[in-house]
């Protein structure tokens, strides 16, 4: 692999080179920091670059590698969504409210990855409080999509998606309340998994909506997501929703293929509003999965049309979290963000409870469907990444989305590249599975990825 290609290398390849001393974690981190310096002026993926910390982490990893005490993530660079608390390092949540917040403790996820020997490159931008897109003039500029900087990289883990697609990190953390890991993964042509609710601790991650928030990894390949999830997963008493379900081995069976797996395709709801290009790429992906030996068939999810009740839960909980600041410091919110949050005050308590009851029914219906198939497949996003000019319209509505049903049900859901639009923008496949069965989701995603070349395409970047 040529030196300039190394910025696209995966975790397995880098780990092998580090252990065989073909490559030094310090040199690698130095090269990536220079690449960030060169390319991020136009992409705005990073809000804080922690160069000194990165080099210190890399030196520590190099020493551990020399002692033979290093795990698979030692020396691998990582970027943290700026929603994750980092001890002694600015954590803004993309908001003027927290513009000067320096936490005194790491979030649980950051602690786990740092203990695994990862190299912190810095903090990557998030939409304001993981919700409101940054309009021109916002305290923090919006990240740009490396495939076309006129287009959004998705949100809210916008910096994570942009940094990965541009080769400015190897791994990243995102968070996903209604698609904020999978959306940027879809728009940036990378992979991202929203794990099962309770699988990965959210302790120290700034809240958007308690019962819908998920923390999880993003990377350029499904296998890299598996490496990261392996280190992130597990019980944490600091997160009240954290599960004690045993953690599987996400890498052991990842190469077993999809032969014999039953993949259900729920057309109702999930195919409504899908653009022709996305639809064609999705059908081609299903053909590939069939060719690889999966049994693909259509399925029904009885109460799927209740999925938009997601907005009642999300907006009500977000308003509850922000209520006091909205009353006392409204000027520190972006204008459109503030108005969207205030909409959460307009639901009645009965409507919130009914939305949670619909959610319980959807959860039961999806579980029923997943008794007949092993996985569900849908397009991730209905359309390729829109332009900034479209989403900067203050009246731009919440778009209908295929991602929130899996926040409602808490099921694991993976986004991975499955094609490109005629204008060169990435398209994405979503695979969802049974609770805590991330292993099967990752296995199927990896099999698809190995059979296709979409994840190997790179954007043309100019400094």
């Amino acid at each position: 692999m040529a030196a300039e290609e190394l910025c696209w290398a995966g975790i397995g390849e880098l780990g092998r080179r580090f252990r065989q001393r073909e490559l030094s974690p310090v040199e690698y981190a130095t090269d990536l920091l220079q690449r960030i310096e060169r390319l991020d002026k136009t992409l705005h993926a990073y809000v804080t670059v922690t160069a000194e910390r990165a080099l210190a982490d890399a030196r520590a990893a190099e020493a551990a590698l020399r002692r033979g005490e290093a795990g698979p993530l030692a020396g691998i660079p990582i970027a943290y969504k700026d929603l994750y608390a980092t001890r002694g390092i600015l954590t803004t949540a993309g908001s003027a409210l927290l513009a000067d917040w320096v936490p005194d403790a790491d979030s649980a996820c950051v602690r786990r990855l740092q203990e695994a020997g990862m190299v912190m490159l810095g903090k990557v931008i998030t939409h304001e409080f993981a919700f409101g897109i940054q309009f021109p003039g916002h305290r923090f500029p919006a990240a740009r999509n490396p495939w076309n900087t006129d287009h959004i990289p998705g949100g809210s883990s916008s910096g994570s998606g942009a940094a990965l697609a541009a080769g400015l990190t190897v791994g990243a953390l995102g968070s996903d309340t209604g698609g904020s890991i999978r959306g940027p993964a879809a728009f940036c042509g990378i992979a991202g998994i929203k794990p099962t609710y309770g699988r990965v601790s959210r302790a120290g991650v700034v809240t958007l909506s308690w019962t819908l928030d998920h923390a999880g990894p993003m990377a350029r390949t499904v296998e890299d997501c598996a490496y990261l999830l392996q280190a992130l997963a597990g019980h944490d008493p600091a997160d009240p929703a954290s599960s004690r379900e045993p953690v599987g081995d996400y890498l052991a069976g990842i190469g077993q293929g999809v032969k014999g797996l039953r993949i259900g395709v729920p057309r109702a709801y999930f195919s409504e509003g899908v653009s022709p290009e996305v639809g064609a790429a999705f059908e081609a992906a299903l053909d590939t999965l069939r060719r690889l030996g999966a049994a693909v068939r259509e399925v029904e999810i009885a109460s799927i049309q209740a999925a938009p009740a997601f907005m009642v839960i999300m907006l009500s909980e977000a308003y509850a979290y922000h209520e006091r600041d909205l009353r006392e410091r409204p000027d520190l919110y972006g204008e459109v963000m503030r108005e969207k949050l205030l909409a959460g005050a307009l639901f009645t308590s009965a409507e919130y409870v009914q939305a949670q009851r619909l959610r319980a029914r959807l959860q039961a219906d999806m579980a029923e469907t997943l008794r007949t198939v092993d996985l569900l497949a849908t397009p991730t996003a209905l359309v390729p990444a829109p332009t900034f000019s479209v989403v900067w319209d203050p009246d731009f509505p919440f778009a209908r989305s295929n991602m929130p049903p899996f926040n409602m049900t808490g099921l694991p859901a993976l986004a991975l590249p499955c094609g490109f639009s005629s204008t060169g923008l990435p398209l994405s496949l979503q695979l969802a599975g049974r609770p805590f069965d991330e292993a099967t989701v990752l296995r199927a995603g990896h099999a698809y990825e190995q059979a296709t070349e979409w994840h190997r395409r790179r954007p043309r970047l100019s400094p």
Partner: protein, 71 residues
């Protein structure tokens, strides 16, 4: 008996804004109306008596200690 309406009018939005004690500019009401219309459609279409056995998907753990979630 007629089916309950699943729409939400601008007057109802204004009434809800007054009841909640928040301020949302008049020029944003149509946007807010679109959020609420989409979000409430499945709830307004629901006959809650038909799903009396379904409990909300919210859990409570009496043994949980002081959470340290968030900032």
């Amino acid at each position: 008996m007629s089916e309950p309406s699943t729409d939400i009018t601008l007057d109802e939005i204004r009434e809800r804004i007054r009841a909640a004690g928040v301020r949302i500019p008049e020029e944003r009401l149509r946007l807010v109306q679109s959020f609420l219309r989409d979000a409430l459609r499945p709830i307004r279409a629901l006959d809650s008596r038909a799903i009396r056995t379904v409990e909300p998907a919210v859990t409570f753990d009496a043994a949980t200690g002081e959470p340290r979630h968030g900032r």
